[in-house]
């Protein structure tokens, strides 16, 4: 009995060492595999955000980088800027308009794509094309189509009396914002489509067959089967679209550079202008931090609403 106990203690000891080593080496290897990702995040996301906060406490003329500590006065200045509040308002307008339009159009396209039996592959390719065509190409085509001399949409619009014959629509106080929303939605609606389409295709046909046998109409089938099934995905899509559109810089900048007279100057445009055209790097970083706070609120909603942690342990 005694010898047995000794033996088993020895065995336990040996095991506990290997177990500790084994666990450790497995954990180390696990962390090593994700280390590059962590480094990338640290380098490209965490550091810049920390740096932005730090820089926002200084006055930094970009051309002669001489840092002057000013505390929170950049934030005070931002909150006292009329252009900040107008950019926030325009940004909200751009975000809501784009998100609603993209949701409706994107969902509509997805439903059509899911139901048609002819040319589905072709039409899916068409939809993906809009998603994959680079923003700059979308912008170049738009600029060309709204060209005052020979733009096909310019001519169409002026013939319809929407704008004058010599008016560059994207440079028009009234039209600039709606057109930026429309052009952006041409490209980004498809995001909602693709998001929803995968989910739509995953709904088993037998659900509809069962409903048909019960005599459900198409509208009833959509309301009772399709919609509940894609609701979750739609919510994610709406939230992500809203976050992305609030932070949209490229398409607005390329189309209008925030003009005319600030009519399309959203927060990202204002921050960019402040940094690189008005030479106030510290002030721009204060704006970046404010945008980051908006992002963080969006992220918080995203995590609260969809609890991705649930997916994590699957």
């Amino acid at each position: 009995m005694a010898s047995e106990t000794v033996e088993s203690t020895a065995a336990t000891d040996r095991r506990s060492v290997t177990e500790r080593l084994g666990l450790d080496s497995e954990a180390i290897r696990g962390w090593l595999t994700v280390l590059p990702v962590i480094l990338l995040y640290l380098f490209v996301a965490v550091t810049p955000i920390a740096f932005a906060f730090y820089a926002s406490l200084f006055e930094i003329p970009l051309l002669a980088p001489e840092w002057t500590f000013t505390g929170f006065s950049n934030y005070v200045e931002v909150l006292n800027m009329g252009s900040f509040w107008s950019a926030l308002w325009l940004g909200g307008l751009f975000m809501v308009g784009s998100t609603v339009l993209q949701l409706l159009v994107g969902l509509w396209i997805a439903l059509v794509l899911n139901k048609i039996s002819y040319g589905q592959r072709f039409l899916t390719a068409v939809a993906f094309t809009a998603y994959l065509v680079p923003t700059v190409i979308v912008v170049l085509i738009a600029l060309f189509m709204f060209d005052v001399e020979i733009g096909v949409l310019h001519i169409a619009g002026s013939n319809l009396g929407l704008w004058g014959e010599r008016t560059f629509a994207l440079g028009d106080q009234t039209w600039a914002m709606p057109l930026v929303v429309l052009i952006g939605s041409w490209k980004f609606s498809i995001f909602v489509t693709i998001f929803t389409l995968a989910q739509l295709r995953a709904i088993p046909e037998r659900f509809y067959e069962a409903a048909k046998i019960c005599g459900a109409s198409r509208w009833e089938m959509f309301r009772d089967i399709t919609l509940p099934r894609i609701m979750g995905v739609l919510l994610i899509a709406v939230l992500l679209r809203a976050i992305f559109m609030f932070n949209k810089f490229d398409i607005i900048w390329m189309l209008t550079e925030g003009g005319p007279a600030g009519a399309t100057t959203t927060l990202p445009i204002l921050a960019y202008r402040t940094a690189f055209l008005e030479n106030s790097y510290g002030l721009a970083n204060a704006m970046a931090v404010i945008m980051f706070i908006f992002l963080a609120i969006g992220a918080y909603c995203y995590f609260r609403a969809f609890n991705p942690a649930k997916e994590v342990d699957t």
């Binding site: 033996e7 088993s8 065995a11 336990t12 095991r15 290997t18 177990e19």
Partner: protein, 362 residues
């Protein structure tokens, strides 16, 4: 080669405490022996196999192959072959490449590889499938490829992890002799894990039954069938499962008898042999093959529930005060639903178990 597992324990940390998957298991598999580890799911049989393969490490205890302690060796250094439940053929390689992979790793020259693969393929009758992709083969053919993959490596231990549980009954019967031929060919110790007692009985030299992480009994198929060490083994081995009745041991003129259902069955044992159990409760176990159906005047009172004719015999279900009892009856037996019958236990085939520990006492 001999595989020796001694005092092996494997404990897992679970969120709600520790789970003892294998508890102090000792088992030896001799060279050329086909040993089947059988038990219900969660009994620790697969954990045992994974420890032997090196895919898992015991918490304590040792595993040796011949005199080499392999307890903590990684799977790469163990020279074992393992046939997985899900077959695990590489879907992106042809059948030939699948069979070749282990040899390639071992650095065997190409013409030697080709030779042994073709030899194995002929033995397994898959010679014409070598250039196909695994996905285009049937389930049985995939099993043969997996067997071939192990065969060409000529391992020193051959392990099977429920390889046939996803196959239909006909295919199982077809593959059993193939498995036996291949393992004979290699001639190494074979550890075969299954939850199917029929597979265990038909294929093995020795059957080891596990339950709750503990080894219950190990012995030749006939032995574990005829002389189960406890009620678990008695119930697990054999089809349909052994029936149990609560009874009371009595002594009449020095001969032991059990009282159940209002009458007594005298046993081929003296009261002395049942020392300590006289005048106490026991469980009586009888296989359904050794129960006969008689008139209501005899044996245990039973109400007929249904018959399952299998062609060569019938399984009849009765309701008794001991619960539902299955009886193997004659192929032509056709009971009256709800009719009253009596069940007579064959005297020489009754076994007695301790009601608390389950250990067989007679």
């Amino acid at each position: 080669m001999t595989v020796n597992i001694s005092n092996m324990t494997r404990v897992f940390d679970a969120p709600d405490g520790r789970i003892v998957a294998v508890d102090d298991l000792s088992l030896t598999i001799d060279d050329g022996e086909f040993l089947t580890l059988v038990g219900p799911s969660g009994c620790g049989k697969t954990t045992t196999l994974r420890c032997v393969a090196g895919l898992d490490t015991p918490t304590s205890g040792t595993i040796t192959v011949d005199d080499r302690d392999v307890t903590n060796l990684p799977p790469q250094e163990r020279d074992v072959a393992l046939l997985f439940q899900d077959i695990a053929l590489y879907p992106h390689m042809t059948v030939r490449e699948n069979m070749e992979y282990g040899l390639k790793i071992a650095g065997v020259p190409e013409d030697e590889r080709r030779e042994s693969i073709e030899e194995a393929a002929d033995l397994l009758q898959i010679g014409d499938q070598l250039d196909k992709m695994p996905a285009s083969l049937s389930g049985g053919q995939q099993q043969r490829v997996a067997l071939g993959r192990s065969l060409v490596r000529d391992p020193s231990v051959f392990l099977f992890d429920e390889p046939m549980s996803d196959l239909d009954a006909k295919l199982k019967r077809e593959l059993r002799p193939v498995v036996q031929r291949i393992t004979d060919e290699i001639g190494c110790p074979v550890l075969y894990v299954t939850h199917d007692q029929e597979e265990a009985m038909t294929m093995s030299d020795r059957v080891a039954i596990m339950d709750g992480g503990e080894l219950q009994q190990a012995g030749p198929p006939k032995e574990v069938y005829d002389e189960p060490t406890n009620d678990f083994v008695g119930e697990f081995i054999g089809q349909p499962a052994m029936e149990f009745f609560d009874a009371h041991v009595e002594s009449a003129n020095g001969t032991a008898a059990v009282a159940l259902g209002g009458h007594t069955i005298s046993l081929d044992a003296s009261a002395d042999q049942l020392e300590g159990y006289v005048d106490r409760d026991v469980r009586v176990g009888v296989r359904p093959q050794h129960i006969t159906v008689a008139d209501a005047t005899e044996g245990i009172e039973a109400e007929h529930v249904l018959d399952e004719p299998l062609g060569d015999e019938t399984h009849s279900l009765f309701e008794t005060e001991y619960g539902n009892v299955t009886v193997v009856t004659h192929a032509d037996f056709d009971g009256d639903d709800g009719g009253e019958y009596g069940l007579v236990l064959e005297r020489s085939e009754t076994q007695l178990f301790d009601p608390a520990s389950g250990v067989r006492i007679f």
